[in-house]
Each structure stands twice: as C-alpha cells, then as structure tokens.
Subunit: 333 residues, 2 copies
Amino acid sequence: MNPVAEPTAGRDALKARIAGLVGDDLMAVERVFATELASDDQAVSDVVDYVAHFRGKRLRPTLTLLAGHATGGITRDHHVIAAVVEMIHVATLVHDDVLDGATVRRHAETVHTRWDVPTSVLLGDHLFTHAFHLASSLGRADVCRQIGRATNRVCEGELIQHAEQGRIGLVEERYLQIIGRKTAELIAISCSLGATRNGDDTHAAAFAEYGRSLGIAFQIADDLLDFAGSEDEVGKTLGSDLGQAKLTLPVILALAEAGPQHRDRLVQGLRSGDRDERATVVAILEELGAIDATRARASSYAAQARAALGPIPPGPARDVLEAMTRFAVERSH
Amino acid sequence: MNPVAEPTAGRDALKARIAGLVGDDLMAVERVFATELASDDQAVSDVVDYVAHFRGKRLRPTLTLLAGHATGGITRDHHVIAAVVEMIHVATLVHDDVLDGATVRRHAETVHTRWDVPTSVLLGDHLFTHAFHLASSLGRADVCRQIGRATNRVCEGELIQHAEQGRIGLVEERYLQIIGRKTAELIAISCSLGATRNGDDTHAAAFAEYGRSLGIAFQIADDLLDFAGSEDEVGKTLGSDLGQAKLTLPVILALAEAGPQHRDRLVQGLRSGDRDERATVVAILEELGAIDATRARASSYAAQARAALGPIPPGPARDVLEAMTRFAVERSH
C-alpha cells in the first residue's frame, strides 16, 4: 500500500478496516451522544440537532475504541468516554468558528452564520457542560478529573493562540506549545482513557504519547491545508489563518528562512488580513521550501506516534492505529 | 429592622452577620478559586486575573457555606464546591456580556470591551472547564453529576431565552421556565450541595427548594433593576434588556394589562432596540402597575424560599438565610 501514490484508495481501505473493527461501537457512541443531548425543548433541539451537519471523521471516538480494542476489549465505558471526547471536540469547533469568523464547515453553514454569534456561544457551552455531565455518569471521578485537566489545557492553548495572533515573531517552539495544548491534549486523552480499565493503566502512558504525537502531526497537516488544500475538497473556508494573521508552521518556517524582500512580502500578506493574498503567500512558501519542511515536521511527529505503539500488544487494532499515523500527514480534508 | 425604610443600613448589618459566620471560609474559597485558575502562562493569567474586577456579591459561595454551617459545619469540601459554583457563575457572566453587548459590569469594562469577543468566549470556556476540573478533585462523582446537570439546565435556559428574544407574545410561564433554568438551578445546587455531607442529604431537598425560589426572586428583582435602577448604583449598563428586545417580567405583565395604545407604544419601544426608549417604557410600566406587580411576584418567591427553610434546624446560619430572602427583593445592585 502506497498512501502517496493512491491516497484515496488507501484511505477508503483504512476506513473499511476501522468500520470492520469498531463500526458497531461507533454507532453505539452516536446513540450515547444523541441521548445525552436530547432535549424536550424545541428551541434547544433545533440548534443541537444542527451540529450533525458538520461533524466529521469521528477521529477521537475512533481512537478511544481502537485503544480499548487493542488492550482487552471495548466496554460500555468506552462508548461513554468516546461520546464525551467527541462532544468536547464539537464544542471547540463551534466556538472556533466564531473566533475565526468561518462561514462554512464540512460544506455546511457554521452555526453563527445560520443563526448568530450568541447561539454559537451558548451551543458550545451546552456541549461542554453536557460532556462533563456525561463523563460523570461513569461514576469514576478520576476520569472526570483527567477530562477536566485535558479540557483546561485545550482552552489554555486557544487563549495563548489568540493572544499571539498577529505576532510576526512567533517561533516554532511557541507554536508547538499552542497546538500541543489546543489539539494534542484531547487526542492524547481519547487514546489513554480508552486504554484504561478497572484501574489498570499499564498502556495508558504509551497511548497518551501516541495520541499527543498523532495530534501534533494532525494539526500541522491541518494548518498546511489552509495553504495547500483546495476549498472544494476540504469543505471549509481556506486561507482563514492568513486572513486573521494567525501564524502557523508553514509561515513560521518561511519567515525563519526568508531574506528581507520575501519577509516584507510575507508580513504584508499577513498584515493585510486579506485572504486574496493567499496565492502570493503560497508561492513564497513553496519557493522557500516551507511547505515541504512543514510536511517533514508532520511526518516526524507521525513517526513518533508509531514508535509510541512499541509496547502495545500486536493485533488488528494496533495495525490500524499505526496506519492512521500515515494518513494523518497525507490528509486532504 | 425594617429593610424598606433603611435598606442600606439593613444590608450592611446583614453583610456583617454573614462575615461573622463565614467570612474566613469565604477567604478560603477565594484561595481555592485563585489556585485552580493560576497559570504559568502570562497570556492566560492576564485575562484570568481580570475577572476579579467584576466579581460581586459572592452570593452562591455564601449560600453553600451557610447551608454547610446550618447542617453540621463547614468542611474543606464546602470550600471547593463554593469555588466551583462561583466559577460557573463567572463563566456565564463573561459569556452573557458578549451576548448582551454590555460594555460595563460592576463599574469595570467587560472582557470583550477590554479585549475582544474571542477572548471573552475563550475565558468563559476556560472558567467552565476549570470549574468541572475542580469539582472532580473532590473524588465524588455524584457531585460532578449534579453540577453537570445544573449547568446543563443553565445553558438550556440561556438558549431558550435567546431563541425567544424579540418574541412579543412571551408569557409569564415561559419566562419562569427560562429564569428557573438560567438562574435558579445554579443557586439551588449551591444550597443543596452545601447541605449534603458523607452521603447524608436529609436537608438537601429543602435547601434546593430554598435556593430555587430565592434564585427566581433574585432574577425577577434583577430584571426589575434594568428598568427601575440607577446606572450609577447598579454599576452596569441598564436598559440593555430593552435594547435587545429581551422580554422580562415587567414588560410581560404590562403587555398582559395594556390596551391597544399602550401595547403599540410598548412594542414600538421594544422593537426599536433603542435604550433611549427606556424612560417612556418605564412610565407606561408604572402607569399599568407592572413595576409593583413584578415586585409582588418577587416577594412571593422570597416568601416561598423562607417557607422552604421550615425543616432546617434553628441557628444563626438559618436566620441569615431567612434575612437574605428579604434583601433579594429590595436589592438595588
């Protein structure tokens, strides 16, 4: 299998393997998710039901289930934890779209476009609190604690990212701090909680490390899409990082390499807040090798994720987890 | 003591009684609150530290402590629960200010005025997740569950309120549903969790009922302030409910009484979205007796709260809880 030559065919094959292993469990997770959010008030359910339109890959619940599969089997607790991490993820998406002023996600209008900013803010809050409520239904205070800690870090990462927005001097280390919190923490816990059962956390640390590295690879690849993707394929507004002067790794690496002329042109593109500058900026990024360098960073984190699987018992779930690290970098949506 | 004739003197005396009973514990709550939110990242702590500027009466933590005092004494768990409910309350304040476009709270600029909307959204999220993280530190999954459930209801109330905004046909029953969720649930749980210890919840239901009724009385009085208060005394933007066509009890009761002419004038005032219409609207509300009728509703809920204290053992904490029901209605800020 060569994911570079045949990414679509390879991705479909991977999806089929995931469906074969945890497809029924993913449907059980969906039921837990929907039951937790069900409301007898029409005003609430109208908005809540809408989020189904732009939920995507179910990456986090899939990881929870695969981690469970790889370490002794999937229980009812896995369904609940998987629904919790997905709900937290969706909450952050809804609020992120407000922050970014994005109008489209997964080919559907964002919530604040369809309704308004207050509805988005409240829906995100609603998803956050239901996630914690659902987590507490397990009766395991340690799980609530770990989910609380991870979510704290997600918010911290978002706050730092926002505070750094527009700062041209942002360096790679700070960027990694940001995405390590805002993206990797939740993916890490999606994995490690899936690998914990009856107080046995033998494999939890390895899974946390796998998830953290995969999450960073994933976020770098996502940031790359904002420059290198096509809007049709990705299904959301592109160039929005640029439009908001949000410095991501491609630009950080380019600025580190750029001579004065390129630098001025890049800064101008960032400062203009104009998405139309995208083509010019992309050309400079390519000329400076920043696209390739960014892809190499993502590959390196994906390799770290694979290495973290070392102590995990061999089997089909572990194989899929390993394959997922390759697709994290090759993704086009 | 006559709270109507001497509200300020009476309020100061009540404050002194509260300080005498739970003043040291309130300081312990502040320390738990600050420790939970402490961050080694300057970008985070700048924003988090700012919320101290517009925190107010500490009503919810005070209730938790008084409930503990009245039912066997205050423990470390009470400090944590009190900090949790206050943190959830502050989270909703920060998001409410975004929703309402309010520029001033407690004589200080609101977060989105001082920074921007994204910072407010993220700070609110940060406070929510830290509240749940802190709650889970008690190791009591039932407490997490109850806090999760109450917070779900708060968000539901806010979502319904927003969906109903501008609907002239809003009736008293629906208004009570909204404030019952968005305000009363958190106050109810602030009381009932304070009255629960070592699984003994003998007095929890009475305290929940006390808190729910007090919360409704309190919210009605708050909505009344938006018309009947002075901006200097209240320390926040007034007339904002009117400016947003948010129907509250004074207007709902007035519309129920109004003839066609008054009705048209009220609807015009609401639809204009103009805070300058406040004086005209207030004059109509007074003419129709809606201000007095609203105050009577608040008094009736305050009386229900007092009645709920029936089974609670007599003592200084119970006396203060009873006195608080009188001031909930007479409040001017």
